[in-house]
Each structure stands twice: as structure tokens, then as C-alpha cells.
């Protein structure tokens, strides 16, 4: 199908985009990479009256090395981020996650910010934001704010971003130095949306007890979810794969999955547990190698 009629404005910068948003208000939608938005518009499901194109602002791709982590400009393409040496060194789990997003042709145009604002609970970047305590720099014509990722995702494809606000950049915070990471997802084909996914970061103290744990699940609720109960069960304990099998049972506290054409909600709950064990096992392996 072909998209419905809309008016088009090309922003030269994110500030310019905010001005345009404030004049057009609710009818306007930001066009970044467009990989989800244009697909929905071609399907005539999404029919914004006004599109504000930020894909051609001056130097859209920007990744900066900061003390607590890596700041990624929202208009940075997923492919640019995937291959960025700083990001790969400081946040290997994020680089690995991006490689699971669709195909390289999509990642060449899809942006890090666009995927986060689209807020599909089964996509990788919203989940990575929770895993890495991301902070979102949000701007409108009148003000600027920093919002932790935890407060950003409301429900399916719905975020706290107001209609006159733009996501400017994302600060992904680096986990403790000697931490290890694991990421497992089940998708029916390479490049498909994850049916279920689990990511973990753990760090060990001097006598092999867990000093830091983050476990995030995606595809199992209306937003990505942090499995705090699993984290609490691990911190302070000596970790082993056997131990993880027990701790991972607590994912059921946060799983609130739906069924679709591919698998049932029950499948998603069971497999979330399996993938969490595998993610934690990988994280433990890497943490031991790192310390």
C-alpha cells in the first residue's frame, strides 16, 4: 500500500526540529531512520499529518566517550554504533545486541534514538537501556530534561515523550570494570523480532561472590523489564550455573507475556527462564575471565 498524504519539513538540527514540533503539535511526528514508521505509514496504519525529518541534520552520527559511559546521539544509525570502537570496547553487550536488530540494510538507516522511541517491548535497544542504566536527554522548544530509561517506557509503543519533545541523546552507563555480560534471544529467523530475550551483566568480588547484577528481559511484557527479584537472589551469593537455574525461576515475577501467531504466553514465560540461565552463565564465564 502507499502512505497517506502528509506535509514535510526538513530539520537542520534537533533544536530546529523542536521548534517545528512546537508549531505543529500533536499532528507532527519525527522522522528519523523511518524503518518502523514508514513501514507503518505504507500500511496506512500510521497517518501523521506532518513529518519532521531529522535524518539529514548536520553530523547525525555522534558517539562520545564520557566518564560514566558512552553517549550516543539519538540520530546515530544503528550500523554506525555497531561498528564504533569506543562503544564496542566499553559496552560489548550493546554492540552484540545491535547486531541482532533486523539486517544490515535496515541498520544502515535505522537510528538508535528511533528504535528507543518506537518502544517495541521485543526490540533490543530499549532492553539495553535498562540493562545499562541509560539516561535519556530529552529536549523541547522550551525545556530540557534527563530521564532515566526506567521511567521512559509506559506500554507497547508508548513512552513518556511528549508530542513536542525530541530524544536528543542516550548515555549508556558502563557496568563495573571486571563485569561479564550475556545476551540470548530466540527468533524464528536471523533478523526477526525476538520472541523472547534475556540479557545479564554480573561482576564478582574478590572471593567470587556476586557484587553487581543486572538482568533484563524483552518480549515478555508490555515494555522491557528488569528482573530485580532475580538480581536480588544473586547479589552476595557464590555463583554457579546450577545456582542460576534456581534464581532464574524468579523471572515469573516480571513476565506478563501475550500470545501471537508464533508462540503462546506460556512459551514466552518458560523460555524467558531458560534464556536467563544461559545469559547469566555467559556473564559468569566472562566475569571470571575478566577478573
Amino acid at each position: 500500500m502507499k502512505p497517506a498524504i502528509f506535509d514535510y519539513f526538513r530539520a537542520t538540527s534537533l533544536e530546529h526540529a523542536c521548534e517545528l514540533l512546537s508549531t505543529h503539535g500533536d499532528d507532527a511526528k519525527i522522522l528519523a531512520g523511518g524503518q518502523s514508521l514508514i513501514a507503518a505509514m505504507n500500511y496506512r496504519l500510521a497517518r501523521p499529518q506532518v513529518l519532521i525529518d531529522i535524518s539529514n541534520i548536520d553530523n547525525p552520527n555522534q558517539i562520545t566517550d564520557e566518564t560514566t559511559g558512552v553517549r550516543v546521539k539519538a540520530t546515530t544509525t544503528q550500523a554506525f554504533a555497531e561498528h564504533d570502537p569506543v562503544l564496542r570496547r566499553r559496552l560489548p553487550v550493546l554492540a552484540d545486541a545491535i547486531r541482532h536488530i533486523a539486517h544490515f540494510q535496515i541498520r544502515n538507516k535505522g537510528t538508535v534514538g528511533g528504535s528507543i522511541v518506537n518502544a517495541d517491548p521485543a526490540s533490543e535497544l530499549p532492553a539495553m537501556s535498562l540493562l545499562l542504566d541509560a539516561e535519556y536527554e530529552i529536549q523541547s522548544a522550551s525545556n530540557k530534561q534527563i530521564m532515566p530509561a526506567e521511567d521512559f517506557f509506559i506500554t507497547y509503543m508508548t513512552t513518556a515523550l511528549q508530542s513536542d519533545e525530541v530524544l536528543v541523546s542516550i548515555l549508556f552507563q558502563e557496568p563495573p570494570k571486571n563485569s561479564g555480560w550475556g545476551l540470548h534471544e530466540v527468533a524464528r529467523r536471523a533478523g526477526d523480532f525476538a520472541l523472547v530475550g534475556s540479557a545479564a551483566v554480573i561482576a564478582l568480588d574478590v572471593d567470587d561472590k556476586c557484587s553487581y547484577a543486572r538482568v533484563v528481559l524483552f518480549g515478555v511484557a508490555s515494555t522491557p523489564v528488569r528482573a530485580k527479584e532475580v538480581e536480588d537472589a544473586i547479589v552476595g551469593q557464590v555463583c554457579s550455573n546450577k545456582f542460576f537455574e534456581q534464581a532464574a525461576r524468579k523471572v515469573s515475577e516480571v513476565v506478563d507475556a501475550e500470545s501471537d501467531v508464533h508462540v503462546t504466553d506460556e512459551y514466552r514465560g518458560n523460555v524467558a527462564e531458560v534464556l536467563t540461565i544461559r545469559a547469566l552463565a555467559d556473564a559468569l564465564g566472562r566475569a571470571k575471565a575478566a577478573s
Binding site: 498524504i5 514535510y8 522522522l31 524503518q35 513501514a39 505504507n42 500500511y43 525529518d53 539486517h103 535496515i106
Partner: protein, 165 residues
């Protein structure tokens, strides 16, 4: 009716200046405004890959790009691969190895593989399959396409320059 917007861009070395409706997809712009019908449209939701073209050297879906987003950019389509009817070594490798049957997916595959081979001059069969996973083909079962990409990589290496592709 929203008024038309001006667009100027370079496709296969030629600069075009046109006026179009903002909602015109880049795929439709190339095929119906510039009569470059080599790029094909198979789904219009970014999955099948038949519409893949190069924008500033990067393979992207022209069905998930509005023509206006390509303002001032350099676009390459399948019509740019041969030189006056002389197939490139990439195209020739597909001919030698029957890397196509109905040919509808072929343009998207050739443009994707041209970019892929430039960044990965010596790919393994699994790496080629991973790179091809964004281009669906219903006729070949992919085996002969992978053979063709292997042959193209070897041809490019032996002729000394990946640009030859």
C-alpha cells in the same frame, strides 16, 4: 492536496531535479519518475530486500525511504553495475553460477553484495549467508547465490581491486 516539493539528487552519476509529492517513496521515485525500473518492490515493509539500493555507498531499503530524504545524496541502482552492456565481475559471477532464476530479487541482492564485498573481501560461506539474510529469494534456495558471491569475491581478489565488483 499538499503542494509538491523540489528534490535534487544524483542517481548513477546523473543529477535529477524534480518536483514530487512529499509522500513519494524513493522506490516509486526511481521506478516511475526516473524510469529506472531495475529496482523492484516486493513488500513495502522492509523485509524482502528487493528494493535495496546504495545511498552514499550504504545499502538501504528504498521502500522505507521517502524520496525527499535522499535530497543531495548519491544513489546507485542496478543499472549502474554494467559498463555499456559489459557485465561487472559481480554480475558475471551470478551468470556463471546461476545465482538467479526469476530474477525479481536479484537487483536487491547485487546492490547489497556490492557493498558487503567491499567491506568483506574474503567472506566465508556462513558470513555470506548472514549478509544475504536481509534479501529474500523464493526460487533458488540461496545455495547458487552463495556460490555466486564466493566466485565474485575470488574474481575481485584475483583482479586486485574490490572496486571491480
Amino acid at each position: 492536496m499538499v503542494d509538491k516539493k523540489k528534490i535534487s539528487l544524483n542517481v548513477n552519476g546523473v543529477t535529477y531535479d524534480k518536483e514530487i509529492e512529499p509522500r513519494t517513496l524513493l522506490s516509486d521515485f526511481l521506478r516511475h519518475h526516473l524510469d529506472l525500473t531495475g529496482t523492484h518492490v516486493g513488500c513495502e515493509h522492509g523485509i524482502c530486500g528487493s528494493c535495496t539500493i546504495l545511498m552514499e555507498g550504504l545499502p538501504v531499503r528504498s521502500c522505507l525511504t521517502f524520496a525527499l530524504q535522499a535530497e543531495g545524496k548519491a544513489i546507485e541502482t542496478i543499472e549502474s553495475l554494467d559498463t555499456d552492456g559489459e557485465l561487472s565481475s559481480l554480475q558475471n559471477a551470478f551468470w556463471e553460477n546461476q545465482g538467479l532464476q526469476c530474477g525479481f530479487c536479484t537487483p536487491g541482492i547485487l546492490m547489497s553484495m556490492k557493498a558487503f564485498l567491499k567491506d568483506n573481501p574474503k567472506p566465508s560461506r556462513d558470513e555470506i549467508r548472514e549478509a544475504l539474510s536481509g534479501n529474500l529469494c523464493r526460487c533458488t534456495g540461496y545455495h547458487d547465490i552463495v556460490d555466486s558471491v564466493v566466485a565474485a569475491a575470488e574474481a575481485a581478489l584475483s583482479s586486485g581491486s574490490a572496486e571491480q565488483a
